[in-house]
Symmetry: C2
Subunit: 111 residues, 2 copies
DNA sequence: TTGATTCATAACCATAAGGTTATATATTCG
DNA sequence: CGAATATATAACCTTATGGTTATGAATCAA
């Protein structure tokens, strides 16, 4: 997965509506209407969100008559997950080390 | 972690510059200048990226004289990681089931 | 065939995001 | 003190994002 694709995946995940759709899709394939139902927004807005998810590779669509069935593509999400998981290992290791460092140097956390 | 915080974390991760900074921080605490060094952008642009990471809770800063030391906060990233990991389990399960379904119904993937 | 359903696209708007330059504020060094 | 360093903030610009309404095209059902 190249950098640009990671941009798209994380970008797609940065919106609660889209995360909700992915959550709903974890229960099985849905058509667009049933994906739209939980949200108080216009149908074109839903279409746009689906487009974002699709460009990120997180979903795929299959037309079936006039209905458009949507399913998750686990692979794209998996690679984003891998990215975080990989670095989380290092970050956790940092965490304690940094606490020590700040103790020694006496720096104040101005957060 | 509430929805809004997840928005911020995934949003922060959706930019290659910021992911690069987090990657660099996995090697240890950095001041702002050394974080900025790899990027062909102005210093204020770097400041903005750090602000985004900070609002998402992914980093914390500690002033030390005129330098501002930056460190990762593993916890925020961890929770984003958890979100993906949680759903990835379901999505993977879906993956095979959906393939079967499409086989049976004969639907074409128009992706 | 007519009308309803499902969905996409176009055009538009307001706000956010990511960049810039200019400037300000501490802090450190000579 | 005066100059350089490290960083933040302000103001601005361009493009992206997330929403809207209006419209169109296919499909299905009566």
């Amino acid at each position: 997965m190249n950098q640009n694709q990671l941009d798209l995946v994380f970008g797609a995940l940065s919106d609660a509506t889209r995360r909700g759709m992915l959550a709903q899709l974890s229960g099985g394939v849905c058509n667009v209407s049933s994906l739209a139902k939980p949200y108080a927004m216009s149908q074109p807005a839903v279409s746009k969100h689906l487009r974002v998810l699709e460009r990120a590779g997180l979903i795929e669509r299959t037309r079936h008559g006039r209905e458009n069935f949507v399913r998750v593509n686990a692979k794209a999400a998996q690679e984003a997950s891998n990215w975080i998981t990989h670095y989380t290992k290092f970050w956790k290791a940092q965490f304690d080390a940094v606490e020590d460092y700040l103790q020694k140097t006496g720096a104040k956390n101005e957060h």
